[in-house]
C-alpha cells in the first residue's frame, strides 16, 4: 500500500487550538501541495483527516470526500494512526492529514521501528510504500516534499 502523511499547512495562532484556521500563506501552501499530489496520485485513493479545522481545510484542497478520524486529532499516538490507515494490508493509497509531532512519529515507526519525532514541515508530506520483496516486507520512502520545494 501507499501511505501519504500530510501535515496541515500554516494556521493562525490562537485558542482554542482545535478551531485554528489556515492563514493566507497556509492556503497557498495547501493548494500547491494538493496540485502536486493530484498530478501524481492514482484516480482512486482514500482521504482521512484529523477533525481539527486546519487539517480539514488542508484536506479539502484535494477536492475528494474526507473521512474524519479522531485517531488523527492533535496528540494522536503513532500506533493508532497506523491502525487507522489500514497499514500494511490495505490495497491502495491513503492520504492522512494531521499534526506534528504525531505524523513524524508514524514515519519513524514505519521506517525505523521506533516512534521518534521526525520533522515534517507545515504543509509538507511523506509518501511511504510497502513492497514485499522476496519474503521481506520493505518500507520505501517514495518522496518527502514541503511547499517551498514545489
Amino acid at each position: 500500500m501507499d501511505l501519504i502523511l500530510w501535515r496541515h499547512a500554516e494556521a493562525e495562532p490562537g485558542e482554542p487550538d482545535f478551531d485554528r484556521r489556515l492563514t493566507a500563506k497556509g492556503r497557498k501552501q495547501g493548494e500547491r501541495v494538493a496540485q502536486w499530489l493530484l498530478q501524481r496520485l492514482p484516480v482512486r485513493f482514500s482521504l482521512i483527516a484529523s477533525p481539527a479545522v486546519r487539517s480539514q481545510q488542508t484536506a479539502k484542497m484535494l477536492g475528494m470526500p474526507i473521512r474524519t478520524d479522531q485517531a488523527l486529532a492533535p496528540g494522536a499516538n503513532a500506533a493508532q494512526i497506523v491502525s487507522a490507515s489500514g497499514w500494511p494490508d490495505y490495497k491502495g493509497l491513503v492520504v492522512m492529514v494531521g499534526h506534528q509531532p504525531d505524523l513524524g512519529r508514524v514515519a519513524a515507526q514505519l521506517l525505523a521501528g521506533s516512534p521518534d519525532p521526525w520533522s515534517i514541515k507545515k504543509g509538507g508530506l511523506w509518501w511511504l510504500s510497502n513492497r514485499v520483496r522476496g519474503e521481506k516486507d520493505q518500507v520505501v520512502v517514495r518522496s518527502v516534499v514541503s511547499p517551498d520545494l514545489l
Partner: protein
C-alpha cells in the same frame, strides 16, 4: 550541513562495472534531477562523485565543476562516505554514488539504524543536520514534472 545523497541514474547492464555508461533514459533522468536541484539548492555547494562512469556522467548533468573521490566507489562504507562529505562540518555537499551504500548512510544519519534504505536510480535524499539528520526532501525522476 546539507547533504544530498544522489544515486547515479539508470546505466547499461554488463561489462566492467566501473565502466558502465548511462542509458539514454538514465541521461534524461540525470538532467531532470539536475534541473530540480539547481533551482532549489543553496547557491554554494560542492559536488563529489564516485569514480564509476555512471556516477561521473550523472554528476556532469549538474553542469558545475565536481570532484572525484575514490572513497565513494561502489561498496563504500558509511564512515568513508561521511569522510568524503566532510559531515557535519561542510556547507552543502552533493554526493553522487551507489546503492546500497547511500541508503546505509541515510539510515545511519536519520535513524541511527544499521539498515539499507532503498534509493531509486537517479533519486536523491536531501538531509540536513549536525549530528543526527532530518530529511528535507526525497525526490525521484518519476515524481518530477517533465
Amino acid at each position: 550541513m546539507d547533504l544530498i545523497l544522489w544515486r547515479h541514474a539508470e546505466a547499461e547492464e554488463g561489462g566492467a562495472d566501473l565502466e558502465r555508461r548511462l542509458t539514454p533514459k538514465g541521461e534524461q533522468q540525470a538532467v531532470a534531477m539536475a534541473r530540480w536541484m539547481l533551482a532549489r539548492l543553496p547557491r554554494d555547494f560542492r559536488v563529489i562523485a564516485s569514480p564509476a562512469v555512471r556516477a561521473q556522467q550523472t554528476a556532469k548533468a549538474l553542469t558545475v565543476p565536481f570532484e572525484t573521490e575514490k572513497l565513494l566507489a561502489p561498496g563504500a562504507s558509511i564512515a568513508n562516505i561521511l569522510r568524503a562529505a566532510g559531515w557535519p562540518r561542510q556547507g552543502s555537499v552533493v554526493l553522487v554514488g551507489h546503492q546500497p551504500d547511500l541508503g546505509r548512510v541515510a539510515a545511519h544519519l536519520v535513524a541511527g539504524a544499521n539498515s539499507e534504505w532503498r534509493i531509486d536510480k537517479a533519486a536523491l535524499w536531501w538531509l540536513s543536520g549536525e549530528v543526527q539528520a532530518s530529511i528535507v526532501a526525497v525526490i525521484s525522476p518519476a515524481l518530477i514534472e517533465r
